[in-house]
Structure formats: C-alpha cells, structure tokens
Amino acid sequence: MSKFKKNGGKKEAPGITTASLPDIVFMLLCFFIVITKMRETDLKVMAKPPQITELAKIENKGLNSSIFIGPPSPKYQQFYGGAPRLQLNDAFAKPSDIMQWAANRRAEIQPALHPKMTVSMKVDSEVKMGIVNETKTELRKANLRQLYYLANKRSK
C-alpha cells in the first residue's frame, strides 16, 4: 500500500488529453490528399454552372482542354470590368483567339490522338448566350467538336 502515493486529498477532474489532436489532423489531411486533385488551371473567372441530370464523365482528361466563361474574379475586376469573359485554360481571351489556342493544343498532342480531343466548358449560370454561341462557332471552325458542358448533378 505504500507504493501508491496519496493524492493529498485533492480530487480534480482529469483534463482532456490533447495528445491525439495531431492524429486527428493527420487523418483529415490524408482525407484531403486522397479526395482532391492539385488544381491545374487557375480559375480567373467566377463560373458556377447550373444543375442538370444528364451527366457523362470526361473520358480522357489529358486530351481535354478547358474553357471558362463568367465574370472575372474580384481581384481581376479592376482591370477587366464585370462583364463575362472567356478564359482559355489559364489566360483571359476573346472568342477570336480560339483558333490559335486550338492550334497550340494540337501541337502539344500527337496527331494520332487529335480526333479524340475534347473541350470542357464551365460557364456561369447567369451568363447570356451571346458569348457562348460565339465560342461554339469558333470551336466548330477549329474542328474541336466534342464538347462537355460541365455541371453539377441535380437529383430529378
């Protein structure tokens, strides 16, 4: 009985040990590493697409090029204003730049795979169709005709 030290009469509720806090944080970290992907293209425009039901998965991400249409994000608004703009992969552009952009993309991909090239368009819900129609016409001229309208899933 002399092995046990007397408490001295004070009975304090033991505090919560925070020793496992780093473990919890590491678990959260692992979750994020697994679920997310490194952002490849910097979104310079605010594009929140609508919700639809008929969605197909993009098959070959490597052969896919991105177009974003929407109002510029707040930090770019002072230079570019608030009207919706086109963003091709990483830079602001106009629909007339699409032919050149397509040629650049084709140069990066081997000729045998050219027919399988696709374009994904992420367009903000509030954008008017004028700029979208111009973009589609230019894509047709550049012969990039497989298009994906990126969107979120709606239940019905």
Partner: protein, 174 residues
C-alpha cells in the same frame, strides 16, 4: 554505478501546428474537381448556311427567348413538359400528322436568343438529351435486354442508327 540519466524528450507540442499548416496548404491548393458534364457533339462548320427545306413536321422547333421563355412549335411550353413532348415527337412514326414521320427523319431545331441565360439554355438542352437517353435506354432493353451502359460500342451504334439524335442549333436572328 550506472548513472541512468533520463534522456530529454522531444517536445511533441508543435506536431499539431505542423499538421494544421499542412492541412491549410492542401485546402488552399487543391479542388474537388467536377469532371462530369453534358456531352455534346457540335456539327461541322460550313460557310454555306444550311437553308434546307426540311419538311416542317419532321422538325421540332424549340425556341428560347431572351426573357427565358420556352416555345415549342410556336406554342408556349413549360420546362417539365418538354421531355414528354420530345419523346412523343420522335416516336410518333406518322401517327400524329403534325409530328415526325419516323425517328430517322426527326430532328430538333434549338433556337436561342443572344440574351437568354445559360442556365435556361442548359436546362432545355438537358431535357432534350434526357428524352433521347430515355429513348435509347428503352430501345436497349427491348432489343438487347440489357441497360444502355452495358451495351458494347457496336450495339450502341446500332441503336443510335435506328433512333438518331439530330439537334441543330442556331441563334435567333431577330
């Protein structure tokens, strides 16, 4: 006498800080990427405008105005009714003389106004594509007894040949 000196322990208090920093880094630099969308095939570009006197009854004229209103064959329509209407139009097979003669000739002409919102346009496109997807799903079940996703590429082409999806788009010129 062996002096057993207790080795100083590494202070693990800053482990949590390092973990938080790493977490914040990943939160900032990564995205939960959405890589799904409505798959569309644009027609080839021709300088010659496609005048084409197609028989009026074989064309489902869907018009979206700048006020985000929907008109099908000059009648005002609600979004919910569009899918049904497209289905009936394509599978008409000549029964109703004002609708298509056969699925092989049926086509949809989607006219949108420069000022209509993308939200509305995509919703209308969604309904039309949904109608065709439902049609192909039914055909897949009838002809092959399997779901559309389980068909081989050749079988899918066969169904698409019987029920071709032809959607022409144009911007209204008014």
């Amino acid at each position: 006498m062996i002096i057993t000196k207790k080795l100083p322990q590494v202070n693990a208090g800053s482990m949590a800080d390092i973990a938080f920093l790493l977490l914040v880094f990943f939160l900032v630099t990564t995205t939960i990427q959405q890589d799904k969308g409505l798959q569309v095939s644009l027609p080839q570009w021709t300088d010659i405008p496609t005048g084409g006197s197609k028989e009026l009854k074989n064309v489902l004229r869907v018009v979206i105005t700048s006020g985000d209103q929907l008109f099908v064959n000059n009648e005002k329509f609600e979004m919910d009714a569009l899918r049904e209407k497209t289905l009936h139009f394509v599978t008409n097979n000549g029964k109703d003389p004002s609708m298509s003669r056969s699925p092989k000739y049926a086509m949809v002409l989607l006219t949108n106004d420069k000022g209509c919102s993308y939200n509305h346009y995509l919703a209308v496109s969604n309904e039309i594509y949904a109608a065709y997807n439902a049609l192909w799903e039914k055909a897949a079940q009838q002809d092959y007894g399997r779901a559309w996703d389980r068909l081989s590429a050749a079988e899918q082409s066969a169904v698409k040949a019987k029920l071709p999806r032809v959607i022409m788009e144009e911007e209204s010129r008014f």
